[in-house]
């Protein structure tokens, strides 16, 4: 007959032995083994609990208390060791799974918009903000749209200002790569009655060889406003507004009289140099001014060519080179860069 005291003493012994075994476990596996031995179904502690039945009822409480005390001790010892071993394992796997973040990054392919597209969109957006729509026209034009309707009669010396690339279609020299985006003015006025407020960005062509400073293809943006009461004042103010929008309100606009067959009065416009702020530098050839383009009031002859009454409506038109703006804003000194498709260039944008 086992006594209650024996059983209680055995419970304490088991608790001590178990705590030692847990503390000695060198790995989570060994700890799991020890846990089965001391806390599992066939553990000594379970046997003691089973043996309670053989103890007198009055003494069972002593044994029960000893068993639950031992169990609590064992569980505490297990948890303590488990925490340590878990920590060790985590540290181990962290070391093993270490990644050098500087090895990356995995190549995320971001493409790059051509700078002329970027600036072209910016220009469109500025004019959309001023209330303009965007008009388009063909890159190959007839003599009528490229010259004659714009008041360039055959043999007119102003035609010599344009070095034209002709296309082998129809009569000789009747079809050409447009030398400016101005034909879009005429097409727009033919296709809709005033009021008209449009800009037309696009390509124009001249007989030139591609090199650092020239290209047979260049980009222009053309503007046209036709309405009642449009004045030269409005033209100057509109050009000044877009220069401010694109380059900043501290940049000045300058206008000088000029000549274009399809506008009168005609002006050419420049802005104070964005680099030297008008002091004079290499970009502006020490003049403090950067020439941008030409403009003027729509010539009555052009209105007559498209059937708009010049006594009722007045209008202005302007045009300038987008490539030039790109060169200025992005410091591109070599025109060829725009055409080579060199990714060392395009990936900068």
């Amino acid at each position: 007959m086992t006594t209650a005291n024996d059983l209680a003493a055995r419970a304490e012994t088991t608790a001590r032995e178990g705590a030692d075994a847990f503390a000695a476990a060198g790995s989570l596996d060994e700890l799991a083994d020890a846990e089965r031995r001391f806390l599992g179904k066939s553990s000594a502690l379970n046997e003691i609990r089973e043996a309670i039945k053989s103890v007198d009822g009055s003494e069972r409480a002593v044994v029960g208390k000893a068993v639950s005390g031992a169990r609590a001790d064992l569980e505490a010892a297990y948890s303590a060791r488990r925490e340590i071993l878990d920590g060790e394992a985590a540290a181990l796997s962290a070391t093993r799974d270490r990644l050098d973040l500087t090895l990356g990054p995995r190549e995320y392919q971001r493409g790059h918009m051509h700078p002329v597209t970027r600036i072209g969109r910016e220009l469109e957006d500025v004019f959309v903000g001023l209330g303009y729509k965007v008009a388009e026209g063909p890159e190959v034009e007839t003599d009528w749209y490229n010259f004659e309707s714009l008041n360039f009669p055959p043999g007119h010396p102003a035609r010599a200002m344009q070095d034209t690339l002709y296309v082998r279609l129809g009569e000789r020299e009747s079809v050409m790569l447009r030398t400016h985006t101005s034909p879009v003015q005429v097409r727009t006025m033919e296709s809709q009655p005033p009021p008209i407020y449009v800009v037309a960005p696009g390509r124009a062509f001249r007989r030139d060889t591609l090199d650092a400073r020239h290209s047979p293809v260049f980009h222009q943006i053309e503007g046209l406003a036709v309405d009642e009461g449009i004045t030269l004042s409005d033209l100057l103010g509109t050009i000044e507004a877009f220069i401010h929008a694109l380059f900043g309100s501290d940049i000045k606009a300058r206008f000088l009289p000029s000549f274009f067959p399809f506008t009168e009065p005609s002006v050419e416009f420049a802005m104070s140099c964005v680099f030297c702020r008008g002091e004079g530098c290499a970009v502006c050839s020490r003049t403090g001014w950067v020439e941008l383009g030409g403009a003027g009031m729509v010539d009555p002859n052009v209105f007559e060519a498209v059937g708009i009454d010049p006594e009722k409506y007045t209008g202005f038109a302007f045009g300038f080179g987008i490539d030039r703006v790109v060169q200025l804003l992005y410091g591109v000194d070599h025109i060829k860069n725009l055409w080579d498709g060199d990714v060392r260039f395009s990936r900068q944008f």
Binding site: G111, T117, L165, R172, G237, T238, G341
Partner: protein, 796 residues
Amino acid sequence: MRAPLSWIREFTPLEGIGVEAIADALNQLGLEVEGIDEPGRDVNGVVAARILDVVPHPDADRIRLADVDFGDGHVRVVCGAPNIEAGMVVPFARVGAVLPGDFKIERRTIRGVVSEGMLCSARELGLGDDHDGILSLPDNAPLGTDVREILGLDDAVFDLSITPNRPDAMGIVGVARELAAHFGSPFSVDEREPAPLFDEVAGARVIVEAPDRCPRFVALAARVVMGESPAWLQRRLVLAGMRPISNVVDVTNYVMLERCRPLHAYDLAKLPGRGIVVRLAADGEKMTTLDGVERTLSSADLLICDGERRPQGIAGIMGGAEAEVSDTTTEILLESAYFEPSGIALTSKRLGLRSEASARFERGVDPNNAGTGADRAMELLVEVAGAVPAAGAIDVYPEPIERKRITIRTERVNALLGTSLSRDEIAAYLTPLDITLDGPVDELGATVPTFRPDLEREIDLIEEVARRVGLDSIARTVPSSAAKIGGLSSRQRDRRAVGDVLVGAGYDEVYTLPLLAPADLTNVGLETDGLIEVENPLRAEESILRPALLPGLLRSVAYNVAHGAPDVALFESGTVFGLPRPGESLPAERHSVAFARAHHARRAPHEPDRDVDVYDATAALDALAQELRITDIRLDAVAVPGFHPTRAARVVVDGRAVGAIGEVAATVVDALSLAGPVVACEIDVDALLESARTDRMSSPVSRFPASTVDLAFVVDDRIPAAALQKTLAAAGGELVENVALFDVFRSDALGPGKVSLAFSLRFRAVDRTLTDDEVSALRKKCIDAVVAAHGAELRS
């Protein structure tokens, strides 16, 4: 047009007005200043000195010692020039002087002798290339005077860019008139008509057979002594950019530059028949111009012929060699004519022959200064060529050209310019331009000078008012119409989206020249028929307009390979050109987009790169289709020129072929020296955007659980996976949410030419949870559909 300030000042004093102020004024007047030459600006401290004595250098043969008197004292300088001698007056650069090129003169010891300065050649003073000897100054030049004064180097020459509407400003007088008006400076020019008029002069006659092409012809004659022009005349011509030739020729050029009055002097002794006939050429007629080139003429060309009707010059453009004045000339006939401008322009353009004279005639010289200009020339010939004028002059001018009258309305001026000028203010602006005015209160009758052929209409005078007011004085406003509603069209927004998607997909945008050579097309396997050819290409490599973007784009890929960047993803968006559509005169222009990826797709730096493949290209195409909401897009596996025979497809949208996609053929990779593999695609964006697209309406999202069914089919491997996918989606109807291919498996066990394609189908209803029975029925329906449509077998 180069305009020396000293010359301008002969017509208007511009007192107290500096070079900068004058340049600003010229710009504001529309006579653009492209540059200002101040030849004396870089010559400082050089004075006139007289050589008193020249002695040999004690230690050198080639150099000598000169004692010079520069007014304030005497010094000794060492000089290597052979032409110095006692008594000469020469430019002497004192110690401390600065010559062009920032060359500072210091005291130097040359072979043991101290030189207190330097004597200068023309080149050292920046006066041209002459470096043969020391420049000789006039004997009477006051010693110690700055040489800039003596040599006229204290001048400024404005290099003006004259617009084609302003022939008057191609003469010094015209420029002076503008400046005088601007500054309110007095203006005067001496003008006399030659008189009296005879039918012949010095026995020579003039017959004008084409008066519409030559409305006026003035001829004077004189006996002359040929020789060099005096220094002042030569210097003026050089400053104005012309080369002195002989006194007679120099005078004609001088008057052309001064008054925009081109003249021509003939050796009268070499004009057979002693006369002039102005006539149209015969087709194919030939003559040799004085540049030694034989020209073939047409019946649209106007000739100046001798009395025997043989050509002696192309009217208004260039004289002939035969009757050119030379050293032996003793008697000249001076031509001063007015030719109809567009005739000169057309002949000049057709012959590719331009001259200072033709540049002026084609813009329109003043018909009414033909006489006064000839008179001015004769006055100079008397002075510089010992001319003895023959009595009288010939003036063939059957229909004199009158000054035009134009009405200018005050209200119209202000309506166009946005100004509020009065009639009198307008009159005050126009009067100094030699425009005379009269008329009632609210409008003016203007009589405009014939030297301003650009003034024909009211608007032309309004422009003059704007120039005179000054553009800086005009207010800056913007149109205030409520009709201005800006924005892009949906087509324009979609085109932007195409670019955005490709940039997002990793492609760099490039521009390539739209001008190609036929070889660029054959290089990439394209046909060379139906091309638009350039009539006058500058280079054979740019002789056609591109019918597609890929030839240029692949060339850019090659460019990058050659520059050490083989792993590229590029795209271009732009116009391509085809033959005109029936009934059209212009080429068919389409908006196209092409993209290409080459060589390796890089992963992380420590992982191996992989070759790009066609699925890189289809991924970008898929992204485009999604962005543009195109659902009916399919890839038809057919052979496409320029592509791998079995790794390419036509892109078919809405039943219409819109482009091609695939791996670029090995032959093309070789031909362009590309680093393969290269995958590429070109799509007709216009066609893409014109095809059927889903609308922007959204669909409700189900809140009920989905049922997933996986099905694997064994099919012939020629059958596109997309076909099965489409069949499954159709069979599932609106309850199928997604059909995804998740495994492709080939094995001998499946049989030759067979492939297993495994799909995961997700079913879901918007309004309920699907029952097991419903899902089973859907599953069966899908299986049956694939089996029936593709001869597939369900793999269990």
